[in-house]
Amino acid sequence: MSTITNSIFTPATAARFDHLVTLYPVKRSALVPMLLYAQDEVGYVSDAVVTEIAQRLDLLELDVRNVLSYYSMLRTKPAGKYNVQVCTNISCMLRGGYEILDHCKAKLGIGHKEVTKDGTFSLEEVECIGACCWAPAMQVNYDFHDNLTTIKVDEIFDTYRAGQGKDVK
């Protein structure tokens, strides 16, 4: 059982965290996955997330923030419900990654690290996501989309907007 009495997480996530800390020789090893899983649930790493994780791992909040600020996937502000991450690194760039990014910007009406007014989408230009041979590629939350064209991007947005997109977690 968790030593945390009033967890901000759902019972399933709280139980997952209770289990996670038991896996490693040192509790702190659970920090990076915990921050990411907490973000998956809350939408971002909020102050309350930092506080509870610090408590769970017997760390200072400062230790948690120190780690939090290092990893590019962790954010301290809410993103859209669907965070669109377009790769523009070399392999994607050669096959039109920037055209895809520009198309996303125009289509969603937002720029890098911005969120649409209705909160449905946010957009990020990201570094290599490991889909080089199927470029250009992007991720929507954790779901990969590759061999992109602007038409395919439109279809993907429509799918998510209709609530039919995959939500890998």
Binding site: L23, Y24, P25, V26, R28, S29, A30, L31, V32, P33, L35, L36, L57, N66, V67, Y70, Y71, S72, M73, L74, T88, N89, I90, S91, M93, L94, R95, H112, E125, E127, C128, I129, G130, A131, C132, C133, W134, A135, Q139, Y142, D143, F144, D146, N147, V168, K169
Partner: protein
């Protein structure tokens, strides 16, 4: 979903189960799964470790992450007696631009990684392994997690594996977006719940690694090769490759080719053939301009330099590296100025900031190339970029500084005239970018 490709010149060792549903444990077992680890255990408790290490040494397998260090030798460095527990750490933090081979392994053959981890554990006398995947690979993490859970439920992991009396556990771990964590000591820091900054060496991980215990860290492809090597025999595996470069390798060919994809080719396979035959040549019949042969940190090759064998030694002789096996092909339409800027922008973004030459060097090269790209460059800038890059080389804790400097030097040396022509041609009427714009450029 990554599409699988095929070519007659491929030698399918590592990829032989791809596309056959081997993520399912029953399918994996049907395709000789978990036979290698049992073969190792059958050597008996006294001979097992020596037998594994000797077989790995005979195989000529060299680290597939990029450094090319002989795997058997690496495993032999771990002290037999240790007060602290020993660990196996599988590096699946695949983030070198141009590289997506581990992606395919985790997707199609996750049990090979698990079995390889067990084999490494038996070789060094470790009871615990970690499989670390980059945070972006969440769907792959789920595949690997399921594979690990299935292996536990069959009793292949946990207590007394295959009746050997040996316990072995595997924990999967996710990163959260950091190229630097692909460096072995930064990987250990990250797994210990810290910022992914490198550790000074020595001591090397084989002596003082994860949680201070002796640790073997191998790339996921290296680890996944181990079961195949034990089953076919080290000598047989070595024969497939070239001299001192045993076996096969997954090469990811991307960029301007007709058939991009991950192909398994024997070590030493000709790079030109890989591009023109295997990957179908340059896209849309255009002319080849340059090749970045092993991920973005490898110095660029010109078209006249690509008639070379894809192994660690031949690529080294050609003045570049085999790296991570990610071959990025550039056609005649690519601006090297833009490509060099995009490359350094990546390293600037990913520098962890621990070592000043890397933190400042990548930033100033990016600033200078941004100015050049925006039309505000002058001829001194090219020499300046070269000077900066040369001063980063060998002056950082980890190889990220070198990884940023090497391709930069390749671009400015081999395409110097293009840089100079670009600077000359983009002068008139183009504004010089302000410092504020530069600081805000890119990410």
């Amino acid at each position: 979903m990554p599409t699988l490709v095929s070519h007659p010149d491929e030698v399918k060792v590592l990829s032989r189960r791809f596309g056959q549903g081997a993520a399912d444990i029953d399918k994996y077992l049907e395709l000789d799964g978990y036979k290698a680890v049992q073969k190792a255990i059958a050597q008996g408790p006294d001979n097992m470790a020596t037998w594994i290490i000797d077989t790995m040494k005979a195989s000529g397998l060299r680290g597939r992450g990029g450094a090319g260090f002989p795997t058997g030798l690496k495993w032999s460095f771990v002290p037999k007696q240790s007060e602290k527990p020993k660990y196996v750490l599988v590096n699946g933090d695949e983030s070198e631009p141009g590289t997506c081979k581990d992606h395919v392994i985790f997707l199609h053959d996750p049990h090979a990684v698990i079995e390889g981890t067990m084999i490494a554990g038996l070789a060094i006398g470790s009871k615990m392994g970690f499989i670390y995947l980059r945070g972006e690979y969440r769907y792959l993490l789920k595949i690997v997690e399921k594979a690990v859970a299935d292996a536990y439920s069959r009793g292949f992991l946990g207590k007394n594996i295959f009746g050997s009396g040996i316990d072995f556990d595997i924990v999967t771990q996710t990163g959260a977006g950091a190229y630097e964590v692909g460096e072995e000591s930064a990987l250990m820091e990250s797994l210990e719940g810290k910022r992914g900054v490198p550790r000074i060496k020595p001591p090397f991980p084989a002596v003082v690694g994860l949680y201070g215990g002796p640790t073997v860290i191998n790339n996921a492809e290296t680890i996944a090769s181990a079961p195949h090597i034990l089953l076919m025999g080290g000598e047989e595996y070595a024969k497939i490759g070239s001299e001192r470069n045993g076996g096969t390798r997954l090469f990811g060919i991307s960029g301007h080719v007709e058939r991009p994809g991950v192909y398994e080719l024997p070590m030493g396979y000709n790079l030109k053939k890989a591009i023109y035959d295997v990957a179908g040549g340059i896209k849309d019949g255009k002319k080849l301009k340059a090749v970045v042969p092993g991920g973005s940190s490898c110095p660029v090759l010109l078209p006249e330099e690509i008639d070379v064998g894809l192994d660690f030694d031949q690529m080294g002789k050609a003045g570049t590296m085999l790296g991570s096996g990610g071959i990025v092909v550039l056609d005649e339409t690519v601006s090297i100025v833009e490509f060099a800027l995009r490359t350094i922008a990546f390293y600037q973004h990913e520098s962890c900031g621990w070592c000043i030459p890397c933190r400042e060097g990548t930033d100033w090269i990016k600033k200078t190339l941004t100015r050049v790209y925006n039309g505000g460059g002058n001829k001194k800038d090219v020499a300046n970029v070269q000077y900066l890059a040369e001063n980063m080389m060998g002056r950082t804790f980890c190889p990220l500084g070198d990884a940023a400097a090497m391709p930069t030097l390749g671009f400015v040396k081999k395409f110097r005239k293009e840089f100079e022509d670009y600077i000359e041609g983009h002068k008139a009427g183009t504004p010089i970018i302000t410092v504020e714009q530069l600081v805000g450029a890119g990410h």
